[in-house]
Every structure is written in structure tokens, then in C-alpha cells.
Symmetry: C2
Subunit: 149 residues, 2 copies
């Protein structure tokens, strides 16, 4: 269930799919095109699972290039997608169910864990552009993680 006009919600969901499609294909050109440009007071921001907050196209796109270059295979299955649009901002939350290539030499695939994401988009002259990606790891044993700190 989502809030906003059907056209906006559809366009935001398509922009969101473009992010995951570009990631799966390790396509930096598509990644460059789908992120918003930095503006006064509105730098793009990105949090990879377990990472600190990155701000600005330079830092964000370099980090994505690095991660994509070091990812052999990845596929995202999104569930629990919810979108809210108001004015020129859209906020989408979803769960990413990740499939990755296993580390062994045998060709096989393994569950790559679960990530929760908040993706925010801004409306521009060129359509909805990604302005914030915040992914966080779903840890199996939160209690243990907390104790380790």
C-alpha cells in the first residue's frame, strides 16, 4: 500500500528498479544517470550496509563503483515495498532479499542475506532521481552484535 498519485508511484517504483537493475549489471553509466545531481543543501547521500554516511556524488559514486567491481554476482528480490510521495519528494522503503554467487569454485548461488532499505527520490526535469539510498544489514543475532560493541 502506498500514498501518492498512481502515476507518481509507478514512476518512483520504476526509478527504484533502475537502481537495483544497474547494480545487478554493475553498470556505472546507468548508476551515474539515475542518481540526482548535488544541489545547494541537497547533496545525494548513501549508506551501504554497515558503512558510515557518505555525502555527495563523488563519494557515493566512487563507493558504488568499488562495490560493483568487487561483486561477482548479485540479484535483489524486493519485498514489502511501500512508497509515499508528497510535493517533489518520494520515500520508498523495502526489504532486499539478496542472492549472491558463493565463494566456492563450483558454480552455485547462495543467499546473500537481508537488507532493509530506505530510498528517497526527488522530482526533476528529467524525472524522479535517486537522492538517498540507506541500506542496513538485518543481523541474525542482534543480541550478540550488541554485546560485541
Amino acid at each position: 500500500m502506498s500514498v501518492g498519485s498512481a502515476a507518481d508511484i509507478h514512476a518512483v517504483e520504476a526509478a527504484n528498479q533502475e537502481f537495483y537493475g544497474a547494480f545487478e549489471n554493475a553498470d556505472l553509466d546507468r548508476m551515474n544517470a539515475l542518481w540526482a545531481h548535488d544541489a545547494d543543501g541537497r547533496e545525494i547521500s548513501c549508506v551501504h550496509p554497515g558503512w558510515p554516511l557518505l555525502r555527495g556524488r563523488g563519494e557515493v559514486l566512487r563507493s558504488l563503483a568499488l562495490i560493483m567491481a568487487n561483486t561477482k554476482y548479485i540479484q535483489f528480490v524486493l519485498t514489502d515495498v511501500q512508497v509515499a510521495v508528497s510535493g517533489d519528494i518520494a520515500v520508498l522503503t523495502c526489504s532486499e532479499n539478496i542472492l549472491t554467487a558463493s565463494e566456492t569454485e563450483e558454480p552455485s548461488f547462495a543467499p546473500g542475506g537481508n537488507v532493509v532499505s530506505t530510498n528517497a527520490f526527488v522530482r526533476t526535469g528529467e524525472g524522479w532521481k535517486l537522492w538517498l539510498h540507506h541500506g542496513s544489514p538485518v543481523l541474525d543475532q542482534v543480541e550478540e552484535e550488541v554485546d560485541e560493541q
Copy 2:
């Protein structure tokens, strides 16, 4: 640097401080009051560091009651706060620098780690209300965490 009218940005920053103030004081009444009400297609959502996505006031407020009841002492120092407001949605990103009571019996305080948060607010007849809190752990050794999965 933030985007929106000065009055909106000020009000959103105050609503954000109210969230952390209520948390520090383990005040469930204040927590109940500052979160938005669920609406069609716009349930409140919450991700605690390392947790899966929780939706709806029931789940979210129960989780906060549980965490606050089990937290002896916590203080948040927010840095790198950025706000964007458009229409009836505001999105705030920040880094939480956390101070907690140490586990030893000696009265002392220890760094409780770093969390990155995305907090989204909706404009209501009663002012800006929290609609999404997404906190994610900043892990010291991301590589190790990934290998463990």
C-alpha cells in the same frame, strides 16, 4: 545545509530532537505522541540497528518500549544533520554518536557506537510527526561482518 523554508526546517529539527529526547528519558508517552498515526498506505515504519523492518504503530511502539526498558543509560549526540522538506514530507539524515552506561558496576560511561539514521516526518494538523525511523549500525570491520554471513 538543508532545503525547505526556515520555519519547516526548524520544526522538523525540533521534532527530531523530541525523538531522541524521549528515547534518552525512556518516556513512552512522549514517544507515543511524536509518532504519526497509521493511515491508509502510510503505516509508520521503524528499523532499529540490525533489525528487520517493522510496520505499524503496534509493532513499532512495542519495540521501542522493549528497547527503552532494557537501556540503562543512553545519550545521543547528533552530527551531520541534513533536512529536506517538500510538500508534507520531510527527510532528515544524521549520524548518531551514542554514549551508554558501561556494563561494569563502577559508574562510568562508554562510547556506544555509531549509528546512521534516516528519519522521515509528515506534516499533520498537530505539526510534524515521525513517520519513519531507520537506524543502521556503523560496523568497524565491514569485511568481517560480510564474511560471517
